[in-house]
């Protein structure tokens, strides 16, 4: 485990002020980087979203601590994906507040700004750049100055190459670096997307069904990875695979019909009659 952690390169990357200082047009960064002094990285309060009368989220409140690994479970339609959409700016909440740290109001920001503020997301269906090579996928997602001007004249520095190589090893795709990503297996695509997320060096990772379509072996390695990431990053994992959740979870939140039904350690959740009724019991 320890050896793995080292190879993962999950030491918090040295801050590279040049990047942040240059990204002057991102509001989140301009008006102050997220402030995590109170130990909370994500704070949702009273969030409601409805689509044509369908209440997808109903006064949802949730707080994630810095460095926490939180699993979110719940039956289909419980609002898990919608919640991620709200956090990442894809869907606007009808009411309620969403803060990243103490001070960054997510509801005011675009997807791009939220991503730059330090929230990374993995989709339910792996979304990678299918026509790019694995290497290029990682290159594009790497934390860097992401403005047009820089992109036009960008050249990969050697330390950047090293970081990509490192991640390639971590996600076990170093042999496939120059392969077109669209040709990877489903599990490999999942890993590539996780790798891309890591290249972004986000403070908060949102992972929507990360182990769907993975073999047992791959699932096990993913579990190890997530556990090792926790502490340095904060993770929110939505997953249906209960064994996987049980393997990694410290705290589990159960969503039902758009709001939090119960929250606590996995074993307690598994024995909670309300949870059993809506979800586990079925």
């Amino acid at each position: 485990m320890v050896a793995m952690e080292e190879s993962l390169g999950i030491e918090p990357a040295p801050e590279r002020p040049s990047v942040d200082a240059a990204a002057d047009f991102t509001r989140a960064i301009e008006h102050g980087r997220p402030d995590f002094a109170h130990g909370v990285i994500l704070y949702l309060d009273d969030i409601s979203v409805s689509f044509d009368g369908f209440q997808a989220l109903n006064k949802l409140s949730l707080a994630i601590d810095v460095g926490e690994l939180r699993c979110i479970i719940g039956p289909n339609g419980a609002g898990k994906t919608t919640m991620m959409d709200v956090i990442t700016g894809k869907t606007r909440a009808d009411s309620g507040t969403a803060f990243f740290g103490q001070n960054v109001d997510l509801r005011e920001m675009s997807e791009t700004e939220i991503a730059r503020a330090g929230i990374g997301r993995k989709f339910q269906k792996p979304t990678i750049f299918e026509n790019h090579t694995v290497f290029e996928n990682l290159e594009l997602s790497m934390k860097a100055d992401k403005r047009v001007r820089t992109a036009l004249f960008a050249k990969l520095a050697s330390d950047e190459r090293d970081r990509i190589a490192e991640t390639l090893r971590l996600i076990r795709l170093d042999d496939a670096a120059d392969n077109v990503a669209g040709l990877l297996s489903h599990g490999q695509k999942q890993w590539l997307e996780i790798g891309m997320l890591l290249m972004q060096e986000p403070k908060l990772l949102l992972l929507d069904e990360p182990v769907a379509g993975m073999s047992d072996d791959e699932t096990e390695r993913t579990a190890e990875l997530f556990v090792s990431l926790a502490g340095k990053h904060s993770l929110v994992v939505v997953e249906h695979d209960m064994a996987f959740v049980a393997r990694i979870a410290r705290t589990v939140t159960v969503l039902h019909e758009g709001s939090v039904l119960a929250e606590g350690p996995m074993d307690r959740m598994q024995n909670d009659p309300r949870v059993i009724e809506v979800y586990l019991g079925r």
């Binding site: 689509f51 044509d52 994906t81 919608t82 869907t91 989709f123 269906k125 979304t127």
Partner: protein, 529 residues
């Protein structure tokens, strides 16, 4: 001159029979006497008098000794008695009308037409006089007014009389005339009333009496108000008319693009195919059943649906089917189809525009105000659009095909799982959309030329309607079509057709900024992607 005429009129006004003396003066008298005689005949105002004047104008009035004859070819009648004169006297002389006489004659004949038994002739004469009449006609007009029974003509004549009074009448007569004009809805009366209020160069009013002017002001306001309403009604109708044409053109797209998501750039050409089908059916009727020509639309409407629908189904099977899910490719391929269709039609029917004739019942129109005519053809198209809309609505909501189409639209995989034959539904739905395009073409053929480029001019407009209305919503399409019709026509009245069109396009582009999903989009749960 004028006083003389009036004097003569007074002298002759009692005479109802055609007096021999007058006719003789006309035939044998000096120039002045002849003019007086014409006036007297006009004042007599009956048919015999009209016949004499007509004969004089056409050079058919001749004299034989003392008698005056109207000679038509080999037949002659006595101008005074109207009795037949046979045999034709050998010694005859033409009554020559000099230029001055001809001028008098022309006015007189126009006046006499006012009392013609035929309504159309009276109407035409009244319209001519409404443009501006000689004061000498006033008695005649008044007389005609008394006799007139037709309401429309009566009001026209009343106006003409009032206009004449304004020029020469007493103060009371002028005020009465002005009040009378206040009830008019003819644009000419506005000019007339304005002329009363005009100031001369020296600052004095054309109308010296202030009371009369005040009345004129009031009447002017009344007329202007009514004219404005007429104009508004006209714009309202042309807007609805344009809106219903846009609706017809866009309804097919609302199905193929709106419901099925197929971007069919050949839609305009299917409209064109529908128009040419109508043209072909019309030709068949003209050649084989000219008696039933008025009924050709009864055949043309179904044909204009079936032919484009068949073309559409063929296209769906052969080309579009393979491009589902690749909208940009579909766009290009269907554009190619449109080019092929255009050239095919050019090869068959020629590159020139062809003329489709309206059936009898669609020509003419209702004149709601002077100058505001609602053509029957446009009224029929508005009704037709409403009927097609109702038909589609019923088809989509009340039939199995409609149920299938909606099902496939909302969830293809699920529809397929529950046994809906999705490929066949696609073909039928696409055919339906194309058939409706054909119906639009049939309607368009009734109000304009039909040419191979017909479709090109509608494709941008119909896509704008669907885009503005929102995808997947018939109601949106209807509102968007009517809205665009109104916007176009209102702006057109204000800034001209081209700028109106540009303004509308710019508006749509701006609108899409605010509501990319159109007016009536369903807000869906965000889909992964």
């Amino acid at each position: 001159m004028r006083t003389l005429l009036i004097a003569l009129w007074l002298f002759a006004s009692g005479a109802h029979a055609l007096e021999a003396a007058i006719v003789e003066k006309l035939a044998f008298g000096e120039s002045d006497e002849q003019v007086a005689a014409i006036a007297a005949l006009v004042a007599a105002g009956d048919e015999k008098a009209a016949a004499v004047l007509q004969a004089l104008a056409e050079g058919e009035l001749q004299t034989a000794g003392k008698s005056v004859l109207i000679v038509k070819g080999e037949e002659a009648t006595d101008a005074v008695t109207g009795a037949k004169v046979a045999p034709l006297p050998a010694e005859r002389e033409d009554v020559i009308a000099n230029n001055r006489l001809r001028r008098e004659l022309a006015g007189a004949l126009a006046g006499l037409k006012l009392i013609s038994p035929q309504r159309e002739i009276r109407l035409a004469a009244a319209k001519e006089l409404a443009g501006g009449a000689d004061a000498a006609m006033l008695p005649l007009v008044k007389k005609a007014l008394e006799k007139e029974t037709d309401a429309e003509l009566k009001s026209m004549l009343g106006q003409i009389a009032a206009a004449m009074e304004l020029k020469d009448g007493s103060k009371e007569a002028r005020i009465a005339a002005i009040r009378m004009l206040g009830g008019s809805n003819n644009p000419n009366t506005k000019m007339l009333l304005l002329s009363v209020l005009e100031k001369g160069k020296d600052g004095s009013f054309a109308e010296p009496d202030e009371e009369v002017r005040r009345d004129a002001q009031a009447s002017l306001r009344a007329v202007e108000g009514r004219l404005a309403w007429g104009e508004r009604l006209g714009i309202l109708f042309t807007s609805i008319s344009l809106g219903s044409i846009l609706l017809l053109a866009a309804l097919g797209l609302a199905i193929t693009y709106g419901l099925m998501g197929v971007i069919n750039m050949a839609h305009g050409e299917l409209i064109m195919v529908g128009a040419y089908t109508t043209y072909a059916v019309q030709n068949l009727f003209r050649a084989h059943a000219p008696g039933a020509f008025d009924w050709y639309l009864a055949c043309a409407v179904p044909a204009a649906f079936v032919v484009p629908a068949a073309v559409g189904m063929l296209l769906e099977r052969s080309v579009i089917r393979w491009l589902y899910g690749r909208p940009l490719e579909t766009l290009l391929a269907t554009w190619g189809i449109s080019l092929v269709l255009i050239q095919t039609v050019r090869t068959i029917f020629g590159a020139q525009n062809v003329q489709v004739e309206n059936p009898g019942f669609m020509s003419g129109g209702i004149e709601i105000l002077v100058g505001v005519v609602l053509p029957w053809s446009r009224i029929v198209i508005v009704l037709f659009a409403a009927a097609v809309l109702t038909g589609i609505w019923l088809l989509l909501t009340r039939t199995r095909l409609g149920l299938f189409v909606r099902g496939v639209t909302q969830n293809r995989a699920m529809a397929s799982c529950v046994g809906v034959p999705t490929p066949r539904v696609d073909t039928w739905a696409f055919g339906l959309g194309c058939g409706i395009a054909g119906l639009a073409g049939c309607a368009l053929s009734q109000i304009g030329n039909v040419g191979p480029d017909l479709g090109q001019s509608y494709i941008v407009d119909s896509f704008m309607v669907v885009v503005l209305g929102g995808v997947g919503q018939l109601a949106g399409t209807v509102y968007a079509a009517l809205g665009l019709g109104f916007a176009n026509k209102l702006l057109e009245a204000w800034q001209g057709a081209v700028l109106a069109k540009i303004a509308v396009l710019v508006f749509i582009i701006m609108f899409i900024q605010k509501r990319p999903q159109g007016l009536f989009a369903l807000k869906g749960r965000a889909v992964e992607g």
